[in-house]
Amino acid sequence: MTSFRFAVNVTPKPGILDPQGRAVEGSLGHLGIVGVSAVRVGRRVELTVDGVDEPVARGVVDQLARELLSNPLIEAYTIEPIGATSSTTSTDAAGEG
């Protein structure tokens, strides 16, 4: 069994009103920043999944993203592998720092 680490990026679907994005955009003037538009605020969830291989692990993440992490009526998601994968026998992060 190997562990795979993924990020799920959840964003409001195109056309869905995003009040948070609009508020962020509205604040840009206060920073003196111009030329920034179409701000959309979403959510990123990082997680580690055990699986026999990456496609299997990704399948679990896909189900999780579809049924729990996003609401398909209003949100889209992408799945991105991140960081190193590790087998369960390794001593994770030993000696780092």
Binding site: I16, L17, P19, Q20, A23, R43, L68, L69, N71, L73, I74
Partner: protein, 247 residues
């Protein structure tokens, strides 16, 4: 025998006691149902009350949707059982797909805690038949994520099917669409509550149970509570008042 109506209690529910009180006033026997139970204990109807189930983490209502009791609630609803979701309960029903649409963050980005006026679009449902007057009904809202959303095609279909159950109205009695100050959250087409196509599951953002006695400033919500109780009594075979409504 008064009709037994279940009130689901999630961790973070905070309107369960008010709902139980209002059901009691309407002559029902309310039964608190802890969310970890797998059974509805034979109740004749279920209310999902307001609050902040699971802290509203991730999205309001989504984690509650996966509580053990929600499997029983979904089976009950799919079998024709009467289910009413109020505020956070409405969000749970929407996340569970038991009523159409989604509830987005208020367009104001502010928590809306105020009295609103709503109009009942129908008087022939299990949740509205006992309303003496359909509009305006004054009751509070208290939510940060109550902006009703569905895409245009879905909204058109809701209108065709008469599934819009309540709308926000302004002082002149007109529907308060997004941008009207009488619309507390930006809900599309002024939608404050909807009903499923079968007519047995409904949700609304305003709180009828907080407007169930004159001492609370309004008892306009009592008509909704009473409608549910009478409908539940009828389906359960308890002594029901004759001659009300279609369901």
């Amino acid at each position: 025998m008064p009709v037994r109506i279940g009130v689901v209690v999630f961790p973070g529910s905070n309107c369960d006691r008010d709902t139980i009180h209002a059901l009691d006033l309407a002559g029902a026997e309310p039964v608190a149902l802890w969310h970890e139970r797998a059974s509805l204990e034979g109740v004749a109807a279920v209310v999902l009350p307001g609050g902040f189930a699971y802290g509203d983490y991730l999205r309001a209502g989504v984690i509650a949707r996966f509580s053990p009791i929600m499997r029983a609630v979904a089976a009950f609803a799919n079998g024709g059982g009467l289910v009413l979701g109020i505020c956070n309960g409405f969000q749970v029903l929407a996340e569970a797909g038991l009523v159409p649409g989604a509830l987005l963050r208020n367009t104001s980005l502010r928590f809306a805690g105020q009295e609103v006026a709503i109009a009942a679009e129908r008087a022939d449902t299990a949740f509205t038949h006992a309303l003496g007057v359909r509009r305006p009904l004054r009751m509070p809202v208290a939510h940060g994520e109550g902006c009703y959303y569905a895409d245009e095609a879905a909204l058109d279909q809701l209108e065709r099917n008469r599934q819009v159950l309540f709308r926000y109205v302004d002082a002149s009695g007109d529907n308060a669409g997004p941008g009207n100050p009488a619309n507390p959250n930006g809900s599309l087409r002024a939608i404050a509550g909807v009903i499923n196509a079968a007519g047995n599951v409904a949700g609304l953002m305003p709180h009828p149970e907080r407007a169930a006695e004159a001492i609370l400033g309004s008892d306009d919500g009592m008509g909704i509570v009473r409608s549910l109780v009478e409908s539940a009594a009828r389906v359960s075979g308890s002594a029901a008042p004759a001659g009300v409504g279609a369901r």
